[in-house]
């Protein structure tokens, strides 16, 4: 019992994911600033933002709208991110949970934060939040199927295993999955799914700041917004960690392996940040077409290649 609580609340779970995620969020902002020839924020900026929202700012509730759902949604988002983080990070850090079907559970847990954002946005009763919520719903529907196809490709590549620990073990004994043609295609598709899941720029139409004023988060202030920021930080860590686990060989936490683990994490986040900085925001229709037609096609090709062992 004590060990499980430690897993959930401190080491691979809540606290660890939040702190690493906050530093990655700083890295993302710093790289963005450097790309635009700016200096960028100080290292502890995400912590200042979080504690300011949590401790200093007033929480305003919407006059019309469901206050209970509005306040519960951010807590559920943090809960979903924590649970997904524990299920991803335990096998990644070499602690087997002894659970044989965790890939499927991770897939469901990773949708919880996006779904709760939609719930919170619709509960706020703001028309712009409703626009953002409906866009987020369409975005979820378009990328989830592609994400499922990526997982199907991974399952075929790992001899029908749906155990994340086993998948990482297989890659560490043999070659990493990205070292094959199907692996490269799956990595590209997974990267775009991550971009949409994190709502980074080509797919940031749910919160489009310049267009619908932060959309789904428009009514949030104070502590609930701090919770949303926290879940965003955690997702920025656990989603790249998930891609590292399923495609990039996992990590080995001894000697030079720690450096490799850090490099892989930073490289994946760097790729996401560079995509974010070199693309304009697309319309929701274009995003749906992008995932339904092109990314699904690529994923199906990768699955066919993986079926023939390429």
């Amino acid at each position: 019992m004590g060990t499980y609580l430690f897993y959930f609340l401190i080491y691979p779970g809540f606290l660890f994911a939040a702190v690493v995620g906050a530093f990655l969020s700083w890295f993302d902002r710093k790289i963005t600033a450097r790309v635009q020839f700016r200096k960028g924020p100080p290292v502890l900026q995400p912590f200042y933002d979080f504690f300011k929202l949590l401790l200093v700012k007033e929480t305003i509730l919407p006059a019309r709208g469901s206050k209970g759902v509005f306040l519960t949604a951010p807590v559920m988002a943090v809960f979903g991110a924590t649970m997904a983080g524990v299920f991803i990070l335990l096998p990644l850090l070499g602690i087997t949970s002894g659970f044989r079907g965790d890939l499927i559970v991770i897939f469901y847990l990773l949708t919880i934060p996006s779904l709760t954002y939609v719930l919170g946005a619709l509960a706020s009763g703001n028309p712009l939040a409703a626009v953002g919520g409906s866009r987020e719903m369409k975005l979820i529907m378009s990328y989830e199927f592609t994400f499922l196809l990526v997982m199907a490709g991974i399952i075929i590549k790992s001899d029908q295993s749906i155990d994340l620990y086993r998948i990482i073990q297989m890659q560490q004994e043999g070659a990493p999955f990205i070292g094959s043609a199907s692996g490269v295609i799956l990595f590209i598709v997974a990267l775009f799914c991550l971009q949409a899941k994190l709502a980074l720029v080509p797919f940031d139409m749910p919160e489009a700041e310049t267009e619908i004023s932060d959309g789904i988060f428009i009514e949030y202030s104070g502590t609930p917004y701090a919770m949303i920021k926290l879940s965003k930080y955690m997702l920025l860590f656990i989603l790249p960690a998930f891609v590292i686990a399923i495609l990039l060989n996992g990590v080995r936490l001894q000697g030079i392996g720690i450096l490799w683990a850090l490099l892989k994490l930073v490289a994946v986040v760097l790729l996401l940040t560079l995509i974010r900085n070199t693309n304009p925001r697309v319309k929701i229709r274009q995003a749906i077409r992008f995932f339904f037609v092109w990314m699904n096609l690529l994923a199906v090709i990768a699955i066919a290649l993986a079926y023939f062992g390429l």
Binding site: L44, Y48, K57, I60, S213, E219
Partner: protein, 137 residues
């Protein structure tokens, strides 16, 4: 300085309210976010929703149509919120001070924490105003 004030001062999010402005101050405010001046060094970002704002940047003369809107925006912002009046029109009314539609400078409508005069103020002047705002209390 205790922990709360420290975090607040390190992460001021800006919300831009333009009154009946001639757009000169708007452009100078945007200049502060560009690579040359870059206020994100101090943790400041421009936010889209007033619910996330810590600082209201008000510029332009406030006429009779702007006044209720400015009041509503101020009430919608979560407290504590700082107000900065930018430009001659924001501080005093400037050349519009005696006009028929003028509804008073910003500080007669909402409490103002810092004044940055100029027509328009240079980005350096806006940065100096921000530094003074951070040094306050």
């Amino acid at each position: 300085m205790d922990f709360k004030t420290f975090c607040f001062k390190k992460s001021l999010w800006l919300f831009h309210f333009g009154g009946a402005s001639c757009n000169n101050c708007d452009i100078e405010i945007l200049d502060c976010l560009t690579p040359r001046y870059d206020v994100e060094r101090f943790g400041m970002v421009l936010v889209g929703s007033v619910r996330h704002a810590d600082v209201l940047l008000v510029n332009g003369s406030i006429n009779k149509k702007d006044k209720p809107r400015l009041l509503e925006i101020y009430e919608q912002a979560p407290k504590p919120v700082l107000v900065v009046a930018i430009g001659a029109c924001g501080c005093t009314g400037g050349i519009f001070a005696e006009g028929d539609t003028f509804a008073g400078p910003v500080d007669q409508i909402i409490p103002v924490d810092a004044y940055i005069p100029g027509c328009p103020p240079k980005p350096e002047a806006i940065l100096a105003g921000i530094v003074k705002l951070l040094g306050k209390n």
